[in-house]
Amino acid sequence: MSESIENARTLHECIAIGVSAGGFRALSAILPKLPQRGRVAVLIVQHTRADAGDFLARHLDGICQAPVKHAEDKEPILPGTVYIAPPGYHMLVEQGKSLSLSVDEPEHFARPSIDALFESASDVYREKLIGIILTGAGTDGSLGLKRVKENGGLTIVQDPKTADMDFLPKSAILAVSVDYILPLDAIGGFLSKMGS
C-alpha cells in the first residue's frame, strides 16, 4: 500500500472527496492534515440541505492550513486549495480544469451529487485523480468512484467500521474493486503526504 501511495505524491493532481451524514466530523478530522501550500487541489461534495449556508466552508477554513472555500462558477482550480460544492448546486469539473455549477435535478436524491463531481472530474483528470468516499448514507458516489477506477485513477474508501454511517462506504466497496480501504486517521495521514 505505502508504495503506490508514495507514487501518488508525484502523479496525482486532484483529490475528489464525497461524504454525506457524519461528514462534518470526518472532514474536520482529515482536512487540517493538508499542508499549507500543497500541490494537489481538493474538491468536496458534502450532502447538505440547500439552505445550509456557508458554515461548513468557514469552519473548515478556520481549522485548516490550506484555504477552503465554496466553489464559484467558472473558477479555475488551483493547487493547494480546497473547494466545496455550495449547498443546492452540483459542482462539475470542466476541460481546462475549472469548476462549473449546475442546478439540474438532484441525482440519487442529492444536489450536490458525488457522482456528478466524480464523473466529470474523472473525465478531465483521468489517472491523475484520487477519489475518496467517506462516511454517509445513500448510494450516491458509487457510480462516480467506478468511473474514477475505469479511467485509471486511485480509489480510496473509508473503512466502514470507522464511519459514523457505514452505508455510503459499503455501497462504494460493493460497486467498485477499490484500491484502499483505510480508517479515517490513515486518510488524514495520506492527505498530509500529498504536500510539497
Binding site: H70, A71, E72, D73, K74, E75, P86, Y89, H90, L92, V93, E94, Q95, S98, S100, L101, S102, V103, D104, E105, A116, E119, S120, D123, R126, N151
Partner: protein
C-alpha cells in the same frame, strides 16, 4: 490511449453541430460538463445505444429533436429560491427604482416562471407593480407556455410559502394564487404586468432599455466565452445605473465587462451599471 470518453466528446460535439445546422439552436458554447450529463440522461431515458444514434434520429425526426431540446434546455427553478436574495432586492434595489415613473425588468432564462411571479409579488408588496413591465424570456417554448399559464402543483406551494416568508413576504402567500384540483393558479393581476416571450441568449440581440435584469443560475450552463458575450448583452440592455442580478455563486469577476459595473450587494451578487459605462 483512446478511451470511451474521447470518442464520446467527439460524438457530443457532432450532435451539437447537427442540432445547430439543422434547427438553429446553438448549444456548442455551453459548459461541457453539464451538457454532457444532460445528453447522457436523454440517451438513457430514450433507450439510444450511443450518442451518434441520437444524432442520426434527430436529423430526420423533428419530434425527436424537440424531445432532445426539452431535455437540453429545461431548467429547474422554484419560487423565492435563495430568500436572502429577495430580501436584498427589496431592501437595496427597490428603493432606487421607486424614483422612476416606469420600471422595465428583464427576467432572462425565466424557465417555467416561478421566479417571474416571485419578482412580481415583491413589486406588488412595495406598491410598485402598477408601474412595472416585466419581460420574461426563455429559449424553451414549452417552459414559456407553463410560465404563461402560471399553474404549479400544490405540493410545491408549501415550500414556496416557507421561502416567501424567509424572503420577508408581507402578506399571506395564499393571496397570490387560487387553489383548485391540486394545483395553484397564480392571480391574474400579477400576470397583467408580465410579457412572456421566446428569446435565445446565445443568438438573439439586445432586449431594450432595462432598469433591472435578473438572470440567476442561467449563465452557469454557458462556457466562459459565451458568459462573457451574454454579460455584454446585459450591459448594453441596461440603462445607466441599472441593476443586474446573478445567481449567488455566479460572478462578474472573470468577465471583461466587470469594470462597467459596481458591486451593489456583493454577497447576493447584485451589480449596478456605472453611469459612465458605455
Amino acid at each position: 490511449m483512446e478511451t470511451t470518453t474521447d470518442v464520446e466528446r467527439i460524438e457530443i460535439q457532432l450532435l451539437l453541430e447537427a442540432v445547430y445546422r439543422r434547427y438553429g439552436y446553438d448549444f456548442r458554447s455551453y459548459a461541457e460538463a453539464s451538457i454532457t450529463r444532460r445528453i447522457h440522461r436523454h440517451r438513457n431515458l430514450n433507450g439510444y445505444r450511443s450518442i451518434s444514434d441520437i444524432q442520426h434520429v434527430i436529423l430526420h425526426d423533428r419530434e425527436a429533436f424537440l424531445r432532445l431540446l426539452h431535455d437540453l434546455s429545461i431548467s429547474v427553478t422554484e419560487m423565492f429560491r435563495d430568500p436572502p436574495f429577495y430580501c436584498s432586492l427589496r431592501k437595496c434595489v427597490l428603493p432606487k427604482l421607486k424614483e422612476l415613473p416606469f420600471i422595465r425588468i428583464w427576467l432572462a432564462g425565466c424557465a417555467t416562471g416561478e421566479e417571474v411571479y416571485s419578482v412580481a409579488i415583491l413589486f406588488q408588496e412595495e406598491g410598485l407593480l402598477d408601474r412595472v413591465q416585466i419581460y420574461a424570456t426563455d429559449i424553451n417554448e414549452s417552459a414559456i407556455d407553463k410560465a404563461r399559464q402560471g399553474i404549479y402543483p400544490l405540493e410545491q406551494i408549501q415550500e414556496y410559502t416557507r421561502n416567501y416568508h424567509k424572503a420577508g413576504g408581507k402578506s399571506a402567500f395564499g393571496e397570490y394564487y387560487t387553489a383548485r384540483y391540486g394545483h395553484a393558479a397564480m392571480q391574474a393581476f400579477l400576470k397583467q404586468h408580465i410579457l412572456f416571450s421566446h428569446h435565445n441568449l446565445v443568438t438573439d440581440g439586445s432586449f431594450g432599455e432595462m432598469h433591472l435584469i435578473v438572470c440567476r443560475n442561467v449563465l452557469i450552463y454557458f462556457s466562459k466565452e459565451l458568459q462573457d458575450r451574454v454579460l455584454h448583452l446585459f450591459c448594453e440592455s441596461l440603462i445607466e445605473d441599472g441593476f443586474l442580478c446573478l445567481g449567488s455563486k455566479e460572478t462578474l469577476r472573470y468577465s471583461t465587462c466587470s469594470t462597467q459595473f459596481q458591486e451593489w450587494d456583493p454577497h447576493e451578487r447584485i451589480y449596478r451599471k456605472r453611469s459612465n459605462a458605455s
